[in-house]
């Protein structure tokens, strides 16, 4: 081989490696708009700009989002509609697929001074950005360029806007949430097994245990699905009159004790009752003997594979395991929701945490903050405004394949959305009168529910079990709790106090202690030692700061 040929090959390989290292995904579209200031057109929020405005942003995508062939996050129904209807061009500086990745990338963008014009933050990032004076005071744009409908969300929920305001000035638009109706968790039971058992009443913990043992005797496996993070086992707290957060994330549910002091659920005396039952369940096989090494994915695998027929979960279980259960077993093998039983058969309370998690904020250096308000208003208009009229094609373009979330930080949710949606979808399904299905979300849930009822299409099972199953869907049970105020709201009705950041992994202490008690290596009394350690290593700081900020 000649020397010159060797040199050529070496250079070629080096160039290829450099090219590979510097290459991007090539998906960034051609930009035609301007990021310079463009006068806001007179009139309502929906009047388009005369000159195309270019807004940069970032987004965290879901793994289950599906775009039509040829589309991508950069060019899809939302981005096209923004351009066509508002003359606003949105480009994504970067995209992630996971909360942790998003937080890390955003922190890097903050640190490196490469923040986009508009982006979504959590409360900790909001506070850090406020401290660094990097957020724009958007009060003027909030009042003048945001739709009246969104501003009226303050009437439904006057507390959330306060969390993004300082001295009467507004620094972000809360994303809001689907409503209190989606907060309480339920206990889901395999329908075919439950009916084969005679659909017994399950008002007490004893009845629950009897049902679980019956399933085990009939079908093998174990009684109730749970996993090593303890998150789902803690969902059963209301059965024992105790309300809990996710120990893996060091999250707690805060409510006052008899003295009025706000305390974490794990410190309330009822938690000992829960521990006694959980340890008993482990001994009796109601909890899997391997639960301490079963992660979240394997827990769901066990449910789908029929190793257990009971699972505490949120109201959206029909989307989670429903289609797989139907595919693997039979069309009656999905799970149906039931209210949690209690030890003495009394009414269970649904626990409600402070629901707002995200805030859409505007970079202090952005030139067209009004565009962000217009884009937020547009999402609300498409998804929740009763006066919006969309063609079937438009509607499916915005919502199929989970694309209702593909508007990124320009997403916003009507805090009454799910309550209204449930009422109207339920009414339409039971009367056939579809005249009240005035939002795209309502039409989608109604259509999906019908698709399951009439065609047994598993894709419709989620909507059916959330809203469409007459007197047996999750929102039926949750609406009962809401209407009768059988709810307990966290006393920490707002973001966590900043002092929370002075502690580290306090949830680990709880999780380790609880595991030892459930697995039988320690008695329930051992939890006194666990709590002492928890208080000494951060728990006291948490409790004091919650009481300082949210106590009486």
């Amino acid at each position: 081989m000649s020397k010159s040929f060797k040199r050529f090959v070496a250079l070629l390989i080096a160039a290829m490696m450099l090219f590979a290292a510097c290459a991007t995904d090539g998906a960034a579209p051609e930009v035609t708009g301007t990021r310079d200031f463009v006068p806001v057109p007179a009139g309502d929020w929906n009047v388009p700009y005369e000159t195309t405005v270019h807004v940069t942003s970032v987004a965290n995508m879901g793994n289950d989002w599906v775009f039509e062939t040829g589309d991508s996050m950069h060019n899809q129904p939302w981005t096209r509609a923004w351009k066509e209807d508002l003359n606003i061009e949105v480009t994504w500086d970067w995209l992630t697929t996971g909360d942790a990745e998003y937080i890390t990338r955003l922190n890097m963008a903050i640190a490196s001074g490469t923040l986009p014009d508009v982006f979504r933050v959590n409360y900790l990032q909001f506070l850090q950005l406020m401290e660094a004076d990097l957020l724009m005071d958007i009060t003027e744009y909030y009042e003048n360029n945001l739709s009246q409908r969104i501003r009226d969300y303050e009437l439904t929920d006057p507390d959330t806007i306060k969390t993004v305001s300082r001295d009467g000035r507004i620094y972000g638009v809360p994303q809001y949430y689907y409503g209190v109706i989606d907060a309480p968790r339920l206990i889901w039971v395999r329908k075919d097994w439950y009916e084969a058992a005679g659909s017994p009443e399950m008002n007490t913990v004893a009845q629950f245990e009897e049902l679980a043992k019956g399933f085990m005797a009939e079908y093998g496996g174990y009684g109730m699905a749970t996993c090593n993070t303890l998150e789902f086992l803690f969902f059963t707290g209301p059965m024992f009159g105790v309300y809990l957060g996710n120990p893996q994330l060091s999250e707690y549910f805060w409510y006052p004790d008899e003295t009025g002091r706000i305390k974490a659920g794990v410190t309330h005396p009822e938690f000992r009752t829960a521990l006694e039952y959980w340890a008993k369940w482990y001994q009796e096989g109601i909890i899997s003997p391997d639960f301490a090494s079963i992660d979240n994915n394997r827990m769901h695998e066990d449910v789908v594979n029929g190793r257990t027929g009971i699972q505490p979960f949120w109201q959206w279980h029909g989307w989670m395991n429903g289609p797989n259960l139907v595919a693997v077993h039979n069309e009656d093998a999905y799970m149906i929701p039931l209210p949690f039983p209690t030890v003495d058969g009394s009414q269970v309370l649904g626990q409600v945490v402070f629901p707002n998690v995200y805030i859409t904020v505007v970079n202090k250096d952005a030139q067209n903050p009004a565009a962000a308000m217009k884009l937020l208003s547009y999402t609300d208009y498409i998804m929740f405004d009763p006066n919006t009229v969309l063609t079937e094609e438009q509607f499916r373009g915005f919502t199929d394949g989970q694309r209702e979330h593909a508007c990124g930080p320009f997403g916003i949710i009507d805090p009454m959305a799910d309550m209204l949606q449930y009422q109207n979808v339920s009414h339409a399904l039971h009367t056939g009168d579809t005249s009240q299905l005035f939002t795209s979300g309502m039409q989608k849930k109604h259509g999906d529910s019908l698709d399951w009822i009439e065609n047994r299409n598993p894709a419709g099972l989620g909507a059916y079990l959330q809203q469409g199953r007459h007197e047996g869907c999750s929102y039926y049970h949750n609406k009962f709790l809401v209407d009768n105020n059988f709810l307990i709201r966290t006393s920490m009705w707002g973001p966590p106090p900043l002092d929370f950041h002075q502690t580290a992994n306090t949830g680990d202490i709880i999780a380790m202690g609880v595991m030892e008690i459930i697995l039988g290596s320690q008695p329930v009394e051992f939890f006194d030692t666990v709590l002492a350690e928890w208080y000494a290593n951060g728990g006291q700081i948490l409790e004091d700061s919650v009481n300082a900020e949210y106590g009486n």
């Binding site: 080096a14 660094a132 003997p289 030892e516």
Partner: protein, 297 residues
């Protein structure tokens, strides 16, 4: 020098991307270590975040979870080294006794294969094998033992980590030691045979002593990375039930720094680990030089 440059410049160009990437991804981030001494606020960046001296380190060392994770790291790592080296040496000696080359290579390949399987996949396999109704517990059940909670019993978990790591990695060590064995002068064995030595005596008196320097070298070099107790393995297999004995520095940093967003604290722990590792690596290289005449530079 200039002449050599002129001759070798294509190869240096070939090296350039690697050097550039190493500089970008391995050297430039070192600047981020300043976070360990700051109350870091991403909004303020490295330049404006307030300096707090060693406060992050004080906080870390006051956390019982951290102290525990340091202990666990050393415990798991050291036993991995001891049993890993022993298993590799013993298996290499056994393989060396197999005269049929095909069978020898088949065994060598079989023990080497797990080395190529990622811990994510291996964890899935181990969950099944080590479950209370898995193959291992079923086997132990024949002898009236168990079931043993290999992955959720805090006393058993560190040993599960040690043995599964040994199982996965000893094939690689075996290859190294087998190579060392083949380089032993055959004359020594011939002399031993004339003196009436059997296979076992040859192994004890010739093979093992001749392998001494390479065993020592591999062990000493492994000691330099003793703080890397196996993040991939433990992260995929541990749970709160075994934090008390299975949580290592890396998993602790992951939960604290990334999951909880405590970047400055996570950096401080990472820096602590780097400094200790630097000392250990320097010591191990020194010992390797003294004992096995092994030099890196």
């Amino acid at each position: 020098m200039v002449k050599r440059l002129k001759k070798d410049w294509p190869y240096l160009v070939l090296l350039l991307p690697g050097v550039v990437l190493t500089f970008i991804f391995s050297y430039m981030p070192i600047y981020g270590l300043v976070m360990a001494f700051q109350d870091y606020n991403p909004g303020l960046g490295f330049g404006r975040s307030p300096w707090i001296g060693f406060e992050n380190f004080r906080f870390i060392f006051s956390q019982p979870q951290f102290v525990r994770s340091v202990y666990n790291t050393f415990y798991i790592s050291i036993f991995k080294i001891i049993f890993g080296v022993s298993a590799s040496v013993i298996f290499a000696l056994m393989l060396n006794e197999i005269r049929n080359t095909i069978i020898k290579r088949i065994f060598q390949t079989i023990v080497y294969i797990p080395n190529f399987i990622s811990w994510v996949i291996m964890a899935g396999i181990l969950y099944g094998i080590l479950a209370s109704d898995g193959i291992v517990n079923n086997f132990l059940g024949f002898f009236g033992i168990g079931p043993i909670q290999f992955l959720s019993n805090s006393s058993v978990f560190p040993w599960t980590m040690v043995w599964t790591d040994v199982w996965k990695t000893f094939g690689f060590g075996t290859v190294v030691y087998l190579a060392a064995i083949t380089s032993i002068d055959p004359g020594l064995y011939e002399s031993a045979v004339i003196d009436g030595a059997g296979r076992f005596r040859q192994t004890i008196s010739i093979t093992l002593p001749m392998m001494g320097p390479i065993i020592m070298l591999m062990t000493v070099l492994a000691l330099g990375t003793v703080l890397n107790a196996g993040f991939d393995q433990i992260y995929n297999l541990y749970s709160p039930a075994v934090y008390s004995t299975g949580d290592i520095i890396d998993t602790f940093v992951y939960r604290l720094g990334l999951q909880n967003g405590r970047f400055a604290i996570g950096t401080a722990v990472g820096m602590f680990k780097s400094v200790v590792s630097l000392v250990l690596i320097s010591l191990s290289l020194l010992v390797a030089y003294k004992v096995a005449d092994y030099k890196v530079f």
